[in-house]
Symmetry: C2
Amino acid sequence: MTDLKRSWVASANSAETPFPLNNLPYGVFSTAGGVRRQGVAIGDRVLDVAAMENGGLLDFGGALQAGGWNAFMARGKADWARLRETLTGMLAEGGDESLARYLVPLAEVTLHMPFDVTEYTDFYAGRHHAFNVGTMFRGPENALPPNWLHIPIGYNGRASSVVVSGTDVIRPNGQLKGPDDETPRFGPSQRFDIELEMGAIVGTASTGPISVAEAFENIFGYVLLNDWSARDIQAWEYQPLGPFQAKATATTISPWIVTAAALEPFRTSTPAREKPLLDYLAEPGPMLYDIELSVTLAPEGGAETVITRTNYDVMYYSAAQQLAHHTTSGCPMRVGDLLGSGTISGETKDSRGSLLELSWGGKEPITLDTGEPRSFIEDGDTLTLKGAAKGDGYQIGFGDCAGTLKPARNV
Amino acid sequence: MTDLKRSWVASANSAETPFPLNNLPYGVFSTAGGVRRQGVAIGDRVLDVAAMENGGLLDFGGALQAGGWNAFMARGKADWARLRETLTGMLAEGGDESLARYLVPLAEVTLHMPFDVTEYTDFYAGRHHAFNVGTMFRGPENALPPNWLHIPIGYNGRASSVVVSGTDVIRPNGQLKGPDDETPRFGPSQRFDIELEMGAIVGTASTGPISVAEAFENIFGYVLLNDWSARDIQAWEYQPLGPFQAKATATTISPWIVTAAALEPFRTSTPAREKPLLDYLAEPGPMLYDIELSVTLAPEGGAETVITRTNYDVMYYSAAQQLAHHTTSGCPMRVGDLLGSGTISGETKDSRGSLLELSWGGKEPITLDTGEPRSFIEDGDTLTLKGAAKGDGYQIGFGDCAGTLKPARNV
C-alpha cells in the first residue's frame, strides 16, 4: 500500500478527501452557462485540462478538448500513463503552482457523463447475490444456476439509459402479472429497486477473443454503478430471453472515472474457486480491488440511512475475467464499453446490495433511521452509492452515485 | 398496390430488378481505392448522391456526404420525404438524364454498412418459431411461454457484432456442456445456425414511452437480417439472463435500407390475436408488410439450395409494436437503433427460418440439392437471405444478405 502523495493543492492532502493526488480521476464539468469540459478532480477542485491543452500546457492531439474521455482512451496506454505522470508531477508539492489558475472549485461546477457509453453489459458475478436471489425463487438447494460457477453470466443492457449521478429517475410503467393474476395489466412498477455495482470501462478496443491478462490491460477505469431494476416487470418478462424493460429505465454511474492506475495498490484476488475454471478464465494475478462500498436511502426531505455496507472484493469474477469471456465468441469490444459487475452483496444480511435481498423479497422490510419501513423504493427516495479504496492516510474515492425516484407517468 | 414507376434508367424498368424507381433504397458504396459514399440503388446502378450534394444538386446540410445514413435520418421525416420525392422526379421518365454522370455500375462497387448501428435489440415475435423451439424443449402443450401472447419478447443484442452482407463469419468458440457431460469444456460451436429475420431501423429518436402509431412513424426503413446463433453455447449459458455469447459472433444485414415509404403499398395486418393485447400495444392500422423471403445454403464450391421460403406477414408482432413496447420503461431510443424481428418461420416445415427448426434440433437433417445432409452450418457454407415485396410488374428488393462460415480459431 503506498502512502499519500502530497500536493500543493492543500485540500488534496486530507485523509478525508476522495480526490488526493494518488487518485486524479477523470470527469466532465461545466460552469454556469459554459460548455462541457474535461477535468481532473484534485482535493476540492477540478483541474481544467481542456483549457490546459488549449493553452499548450498539455498535448494529446485535442483529446482533452473533446467534451468526453473516449477520444483520450482511444489514444492508448502510453498516453494514459503520460497524462497521469504529467499531472502527478505538476500537482505534487514542489510542482507548478501557477496552474492554480486552471483550478475550479468543485462546489461551483455541474458534472456530466464522463464518457459516451458505447455499449453496456451487465454481469451477475456476486456469489452471495446469486445465492440470495436463487434461494428466494428456487430454495437454497437449487439457488445457484448450474452454469454459475463456470461462466461469468452476463447479458446486454441498454447504453442509452445510462445516466450520470444526480439525474432523476422516473418510476417505470410496464406489464405486470402476479402469480395469481389471470391476465397482465399495465401500470407503474411496485417493486423498484437498486443494484449496487461497480462499472468497468473498456479503454482499448479488441476484435477477437482476448485473454484475461489482455482484458485487464484493456480496462481504463472504474465507476460506481446503480443498475435500477423493476423486479415485478422482470418477473413477468424475463423468461426465456432475460431481463429487458425491467433494466432499461436507467443505470446511474458516478461522475468520475477512477483509473485502474490509481487503484493499482488495492488489487486483490477473487475468492477461492468452488469449482475449477476453464483455462481461458484463469487469472494470472490479482485483478479484483479492495473497495469499500455503501448505499444510503433518504426519503424526500428526510435524513439518510445507511442501508448496506459491502466490498467489491467479494465478487466471484473480476472485470478482466468478464471482459475475456465477453470476447470468446469473437464479439468486438469498443472504447467506451461499460461492464457492470453484478450486484455486490456480502455474506451478512447488512451487506446485501439490493432491497430485494435486504427486505427478502418484501417479506422483511428494513427500518430506516427515520422509523419508516422500506421494502422497495418509494417516490421521492434518494438512493446514493458511495465507494472508496482506503490507503494509509488517504483514500481513492469515486464521488457519489445518486438518483431520486420521481412518480411514474400517468397511463 | 401501385404499378411500376418508369425511369429513364432502362435497367430499373425490369420486373426482375430489385431496385425499380419505386424502391430507391439507401446504401454506402466505394469504388476501387475510393472512400465510402452514400448512394441510392436504381436498376443496375448506384446514384452517387454524395457527389450530387457536393455538386449542389441536392442540399441536406451535408447529410448525404457523411459516409453513412445516420445524419440524414436525424434530419427528420420532412427531409426523408423531400429526398425521396426529389430523386423520384429526377430519375422518372422525362426527368433529368444528365444525371447519368452520377450513376456507377453496381457491378463495380463494394457495399458497406449503410448506417452505424447505435444499439441492437432482437425480438422473438415469430409465432411458429416460438412454438417450434418451445416444442423441442418443453413439448407442444407448454411450447409457448406464458408471456408470449402478451409481450413482444425481446433482449438486447450486441451492436458491435452487426456486419454487412459479404462479411465472413468465424465459427465461435465457447463454453459447451451437453446434458450428460459432467463439466463444461471450451471449444468450437457444433450447432451454429442462422435466424431469418427482418431488421427495422429507428430513424427518429424518442426519450420516453411512445405509442404504436408514433413508433410506426419513427421507423425509417428495413433490412434483411441474419442473427447467427450458436445453439449449443446458448443452451448452456442462457439461464437465467438470456442469450449472450451465443448471439455475439455476428449479425449480418443486407446492404440497402429499404425505406418504409417504399414498402407503404405492401402494408398488411398482424394475424388475429389469440389473446387480447393490452391497449398500449394495439395497432391503429396495418403495420406489418407482405415481403417474400427465402434462404439458400451453398456448400464451399457447390451449388445453392433453397432451404426455406416464408413471408414477413406471418409475424405476430410488428416492428412498431416492438418499438412501442421497447419504450414502456422510459428507455431512450436513438437514431440508428436496429430492431430484429425475431425468426420468421411459417406454419409449414419448408417455411421454417432456422436450421434448428428445419432439422428439428438435428434429428431430421435436411438434404441439399447436392445430396449432402445438413443439420447445422458446416465450415465453408454460404448462407444467403433474400427478400422482396412483389408489386404488379415490379418488386421492392433488398439485395442479398450473405455470409460464409469460416473455421473456428484454434484454442
